[in-house]
């Protein structure tokens, strides 16, 4: 009998095409998602070298980063052109490259269009036990289904297009075990913000993290995708959640998921992937669910996390001198003073969306808080951006769009939107945003924008009061 293995080791070993003497492995890639921002130079590289895409059938292209989230068709059903010429050019490049290289392309007006990390699981393109890559760091998201998924740069995109493999060294393994039961108003987003606060922004560097424990097991797939999505924010190469009955129920019947007898074979294989009893991780971190409150960031690194009941920290309270300097810089940028209660911080903007929090469950959580309420007068801009056209359709069928619109929020078309300051959805300089996205970096949501990362329910609560707010006060 072979030695006990972790989920990560099993997926890794199943994908080794060749191992070199120095330990580097040629790893087969089962699924490749392509978007418009990190692919043009890769396709150009293939053209220059006269190379083809080895497995177009394992590749799926969809635009998301650049797309405006305003209406895409006019009253006559014609495409509304993208105003920004550079964004338009990038979109056109993908529209041209996908058919030229034989890759399926989901058009901006297709109901299946959305953020790559929402589309992959939704279509059943992303499956447990597979290796999934995309030129986007939040690719770790798909690990919520039990796939080894990670972000790659454009040179690697080109490498995968040409060879369907990558030359990789195996990462270390880490278990992050979250045990107990989450309190009311505490969501998967709060769990992953808390984990990031505990590990730090580089705590997972060089590791693939498997999230385990009763809290993770009790989460829906949407919640697990949210957690794995932010693995990169604590530095991990990838995040993983072992596939189980919740996973199989989510995937069954999805357009690209296995069917018939193949479904049963696949499920049996997926069940065999769970970490064996006695398998050893390189590092183990245990977190008690009772310690996790609705959480919010105060600074400009995702590790700058506090419970909503906390106060802005004093930079001198950090032991590490480099962190003291960084904290002071963060406070200057964020316009905050030490000792200020987080719930005293007013916000002018609300963003509910991104690959972290734009799935149906996220929209339901936000709508539950906003139902029958109005946004505060000091909220200048509040948008809800569904993760895909299908999420949008489902939300509208449930009447969630009416709840958002009646509360004074805008209901938009799917895309990356205000997560990254690349398309027209930006937060103005000096203004604050309660945002369900994944990064609070300097300038991330637009030059000078001040980001506070929160869960969908917390963003909705901030919309109602105009301040960062403990959502538990609104749901009790």
């Amino acid at each position: 009998m072979s030695a006990p293995q972790t989920l990560y080791e099993k997926i890794w070993n199943a994908h080794v095409v060749e191992q070199r003497d120095d330990g580097t492995c040629l790893i087969f890639i089962d699924r490749h998602l392509v978007h418009e921002v990190t692919s043009p130079q890769a396709f150009e590289g293939l053209r220059v070298a006269g190379r083809r895409v080895r497995r177009p059938d394992l590749t799926l292209a969809v635009p998301d980063h650049n797309l405006p989230t305003t209406a895409r068709l006019d009253a006559n059903g014609n495409n509304i052109p993208i105003a920004d010429p550079e964004s338009a050019q990038q979109l056109e490049a993908l529209e041209r490259n996908a058919p030229e290289f034989g890759i399926d392309y989901i058009d901006a007006t297709d109901v299946k269009q959305g953020i790559v990390h929402v589309v992959g699981p939704e279509q059943g393109f992303s499956l447990p036990g597979t290796t999934i890559v995309c030129g986007d760091s939040h690719t770790a998201c798909h690990g919520g289904l039990g796939a080894l998924a990670f972000g790659i740069g454009t040179s690697e995109v080109e490498h995968v297009l040409a060879t369907q493999t990558l030359q990789l060294s195996q990462s270390k393994s880490m278990e992050v075990r979250v045990e107990g039961e989450l309190g009311p108003g505490v969501s998967a987003k709060d769990v992953v913000l808390h984990i990031t606060g505990v590990l730090g922004a580089s705590g997972g560097t060089g590791h693939v993290i498997e999230y385990t424990g009763s809290v993770i097991r009790a989460l829906s797939i949407e919640g697990r995708l949210t957690i794995s999505n932010m693995a990169i924010e604590h530095g991990a190469r990838a995040g993983l959640v072992a596939p189980d009955d919740v996973t199989f129920a989510y995937l069954k019947g999805r357009p690209m998921a296995p069917k018939g007898a193949q479904w049963d074979t696949a499920v049996a294989y997926w069940r065999s992937l769970a970490t064996d009893a006695g398998a050893v991780y390189d590092k183990v971190v245990t977190i008690n669910a009772a310690d996790i409150a609705p959480s919010v960031t105060w600074g400009t690194s995702p590790e700058d996390v506090l419970p909503i009941t906390g106060v802005v920290p004093d930079p001198s309270s950090f032991a590490d001198p480099s962190k003291q300097a960084a904290a002071q810089k963060s406070l200057d940028y964020m316009g905050l003073t030490p000792g200020m209660p987080m719930t005293d911080i007013s916000v002018e903007n609300i963003f509910i969306g991104s690959c972290t929090n734009s799935r149906i469950e996220d929209l339901r959580a936000a709508a539950a808080v906003l139902k029958g309420r109005k946004k505060a007068d000091n909220i200048k801009w509040a948008i809800v951006v569904p993760g895909s056209g299908l999420v949008k359709q489902m939300a509208e069928a449930e009447g969630l769009d009416r709840i958002f619109i009646n509360a004074g929020l805008e209901w938009r078309e799917p895309g990356c939107s205000a997560c990254l300051g690349m398309n027209p959805d930006k937060v103005p300089a000096g203004e604050r945003c309660a945002s369900t996205s994944n990064r609070n970096f300097v300038g991330r949501q637009g030059p000078g924008a001040r980001t506070h990362l929160v869960s969908p329910a917390m963003a909705a609560a901030a919309a109602v009061t105009g301040k960062l707010t403990d959502v538990r006060a609104l749901i009790n």
């Binding site: 095409v17 060749e18 070199r20 120095d22 580097t24 040629l26 087969f28 921002v37 990190t38 043009p40 130079q41 150009e44 190379r51 497995r55 059938d57 980063h65 650049n66 920004d84 550079e86 050019q89 990038q90 490049a93 393109f125 499956l127 030129g135 986007d136 760091s137 690719t139 990670f150 972000g151 790659i152 740069g153 454009t154 040179s155 690697e156 080109e158 490498h159 060879t163 369907q164 493999t165 030359q167 922004a201 580089s202 560097t205 990169i232 530095g235 190469r237 690209m256 296995p258 069917k259 193949q262 696949a266 690194s301 480099s322 960084a326 690349m422 990064r439 970096f441 300038g443 030059p447």
Partner: protein, 197 residues
């Protein structure tokens, strides 16, 4: 990729921790469909501050950057490596790098050298007045003051950097092994080929 075996010259003493990819190159610059010309946007936010190291004539044209822990965290944008190369930087020395950035740097012949914080502190001092020398062959960073810091590098990456290996070309030599793997999987896990589902 051009072969690279050593880098010698001035170094920007940045020292900052958690330099994320939005600091290296903001998203507004990612709309290009080419790899070149991104140096103009490199470290744009930092360069708005008077007295920043990038616009200090003392470090003009420096081929080395010295930074703090977790350099290149955040996005997978290879534009970060392209922007730094376009600015004339050939090597970064830091206590740690994000995994994706160090991969992107490697693909572009940009050395990402890991040294402990004590070595970084010393190099920050030296950089104010003198040149720093990185030798990939011997895996050392040295200064004119007899400082000598050894660093680790993945042997495969070292081989590719020194020989300027076209990695795709190298992998394509394994085409038969890839085909054999594909055949094995299409028999045991047919659901992985969408066309067969």
């Amino acid at each position: 990729m051009q072969p690279i075996s050593s880098v010698k010259g001035k170094a920007y003493p940045l020292g900052l921790k958690n330099v994320d990819t939005d600091i290296i190159i903001p998203a507004v610059w990612l709309k290009t469909i080419s790899r070149s010309g991104l140096g103009k946007g490199a470290f744009q936010t930092l360069r708005t501050v008077t007295g920043n190291v990038f616009d200090d004539p003392a470090y003009a044209g420096a081929p080395i950057l010295i930074a703090g822990d977790n350099f290149g965290c955040g996005s997978s944008r290879e534009h970060a490596a392209w922007a730094m190369a376009d600015l004339g930087i050939s090597a970064v020395i830091a206590p740690s790098f994000s995994d994706i950035f160090s991969g992107n740097a490697f693909k572009n012949g940009l050395l990402a050298i890991v040294l402990p914080q004590e070595a970084i502190d010393r190099l920050m001092e030296v950089a104010k007045t003198d040149d720093i020398h990185i030798d990939l062959e011997t895996q050392t960073v040295t200064t004119p003051f007899q400082d000598r810091f050894a660093f680790e590098i993945d042997p495969f990456r070292k081989h590719c950097l020194i020989n300027g290996v076209d990695e795709i070309g190298l992998t394509l030599k394994s085409s038969d092994a890839i085909s054999a793997y594909e055949n094995k999987i299409s028999a045991s896990q047919p659901w992985l080929s969408p066309n067969q589902v």
